[in-house]
Amino acid sequence: MLRYLFKRLLVAGITLWGISLVTFVFINLAPGDPAEYQTGNVMGGEVSPGAYRELREYYGLDQSVLVRYGRWVGRLVRLDFGKSMAGDGRPVMDKIAERIWPTMSVALLALVLGLAVSIPVGIYAAVWRDGWFDVVSGGLLYALYSVPGYVMAVPLILIVGVKWDLLPFQGMVSDNYELLSGWGQWVDVFRHYVLITFCFGYGAMAYYCRFVRQNMLEVLGEDYVRTARAKGLSEFGVVVRHAFGNTLIPLMTLMGMLLPSVIGGSIILEVMFNWPGMGRLFFESMLARDYPTIMALSFITAVLVLAGNLLADLSYAAVDPRVRYD
């Protein structure tokens, strides 16, 4: 087990190094640079070439890419992602820290919501296979699954946000947030979460439902389920403990695989909802060629995804005692 872990970590380390090198070179060689963006956009394009050159020197962009990469790695080992080049000069870690919670909270809420709906629905549909509930929910979920969140978001915003004026859809808090009472602030934030969480999560929810149902169907036909029934266990115990327990492994793989889309699949939704999350930060940094922020975001994403894959593999062993890694 330890040896396996060590091997996996070693490979992951090499992969990470490769990713960071390729991304760094790729981003830094792309046309345009932060100095150009700032002198062009912020100061109206009327700056002397001297100012532009000074700005480049200030950011250290006059050195070769590999030297810059070396420095970046040097800072990284001290867990320092450097300072943003987007003009505000703030440490990248601060910028990300304030963006990480909005994204992660939406992702977590969507995940919890998805599991809370999909597990009962999937089990019920599998047990009463081809019954009316199975057919109706199956068709509905399939249709839902085919619309991505950002396409669904537009009519939703139109109907719920504009026509009925029921829920807000811009940002995390209303303009009068400061004036609200403590309870009112909670309600306000919650109301802002509703639409984006739904748009973010329903696709995965539909997918989980189909997934749980399919795996349950496979498991329900197994011998040990029949044995459990023959022993006279209650139907609930058979279905939930014996059958569903054995569908947990594929569910975990699935979540490991969905992790990248959870972290970064939200760029469009975050831009659309004006949500202060990591996806929007990435988009903004990309436009401003804010190299340190882009690098930090890509690196953190890669670490999280690799860790997610590893955790999913390890959790097999926890769920299923037959799985061993040597």
Binding site: V11, I14, T15, G18, I19, V22, T23, F26, I27, A30, P31, G32, G138, Y142, A143, Y145, S146, V147, P148, Y150, V151, M152, V154, P155, I157, L158, V162, K163, R210, R213, Q214, L217, E218, P260, S261, I263, G264, G265, I267, I268, V271, M272, G279, F282, F283, M286, R289, I294, L297, S298, T301, A302, V305, L306
Partner: protein
């Protein structure tokens, strides 16, 4: 057991392919998916006959003209305009609608507007003149929807073509060679899968001007991992089958074995992931157009229509539904087709919905 002569084997292969075809079209899902795909292709090819500001057939000053039909030939080819409309219909300032006399014979397209034609009706609601309303520049939305189909069809097919080439090459090489080649390629696949698709696409797109060709290339460059994994598995499985070993023992070269013997037999699972990939590509194009990295403005696409609808949400809510419905139907039908294909290949998966 009969001996497998060459001819026998050939006919068996043919049966497998026929049954695949029959399996896809035999299921309701397959028929719906395939039907909508054909419909989209039809709308793409014959778009000018459905929506154009010039008539399909008309009589003008004693002569017959077929301007919209010429448009079909002109714009459907990817290359330059090698087939010109006859004068005066080729002149940009010639307005067929006002020039043609009412009593002269003319068959107009269903929607008599060009996709870029700006009328006076700015942000007008659906009416008999503009079936789906008009946008902020007074362009007819129905015409733009019809001509936007081209982008969705082309993006889906071309980007997946690129993805198939990359995926089969890399995956096939990894599966066939094994060893360190496999290790390296597998790590590359893993690395690419690490990144959220839009992270990657945006990082590549900052290198290029937004255009439909660049969007297709970029989607293709980022969407090949699933195909690579499938073909790696297939190549690994098939390379140990008897017929491959016998081919090798006869001295057939590696390349010929890979592309002549293994590839044709590993195509079906790849086809499934292509079908799902096309659906995803349509979505990615819509998302990119939404972020402003997609097809540049005068050219319509469903994604850019959605974006313009979002920008005029409060004044023109009717603009929202056409692109949403179209994207939904396209993605749904590609997914259905993919599932029908998968069922036809692997009957065990039929128990899923």
């Amino acid at each position: 057991m009969t001996e497998r002569t060459g001819q026998n084997f050939e006919s068996e292969v043919k049966t497998v392919r026929c049954s695949l075809w029959r399996g896809v079209l035999g299921s309701v899902r397959g028929r719906i998916g395939f039907g909508f795909l054909v419909l989209m292709l039809g709308v793409w090819v014959f778009g000018p006959l459905l929506a154009s500001n010039q008539p399909i057939v008309c009589r003008y000053r004693g002569q017959w003209y077929f301007p919209a039909m010429v448009e079909v030939v002109q714009s459907r080819g990817m290359g330059p305009h090698w087939f010109e409309k006859s004068s005066p219909f080729n002149l940009p300032q010639f307005d067929a609608k006002s020039e043609l006399d009412a009593d002269e014979f003319a068959i107009w397209p269903l929607i008599p507007f060009h996709e870029g034609e700006q009328t006076e009706d700015v942000l007008a609601g659906p009416s008999r003149r503009h079936w789906l309303g008009s946008d902020e520049l007074g362009r007819d939305v129905a015409a733009r929807m019809i001509h936007g189909t081209a982008v969705s069809v082309k993006v889906g097919l071309v980007s997946m073509g690129i993805a198939v080439i990359i995926g089969v090459m890399l995956g096939g090489l990894a599966g066939y060679r094994g060893g360190w080649v496999d290790f390296v390629i597998s790590r590359v696949i893993e690395t690419v899968m690490c990144f959220p698709v839009f992270f990657m696409i945006l990082s590549i797109l900052v290198w290029f001007e937004p255009s439909i060709v660049n969007v297709m290339i970029v989607i293709g460059l980022t969407r090949w991992t699933a195909i690579a994994r499938y073909s790696r598995g297939e190549f690994m499985r098939i390379k140990n089958l008897d017929y491959v070993i016998s081919a090798r023992s006869q001295g057939v070269g590696n390349l010929r074995i890979m592309f002549g013997h293994i590839l044709p037999n590993s195509l079906t699972p790849i086809l499934v992931s292509v079908s799902f990939g096309v659906a995803a590509a349509v979505l990615v194009e819509a998302g990119l157009s939404w972020l402003g990295f997609g097809v540049p403005d005068p050219q319509p696409s469903w994604g850019s229509l959605l974006k313009s609808a979002y920008e005029h949400l409060r004044v023109a809510p009717y603009l929202v539904y056409p692109p949403c419905v179209a994207i939904f139907l396209a993605v749904l039908s590609y997914n259905l087709l993919g599932e029908a294909l998968r069922d036809a290949i692997d009957p065990r998966s039929r128990k899923s919905l």
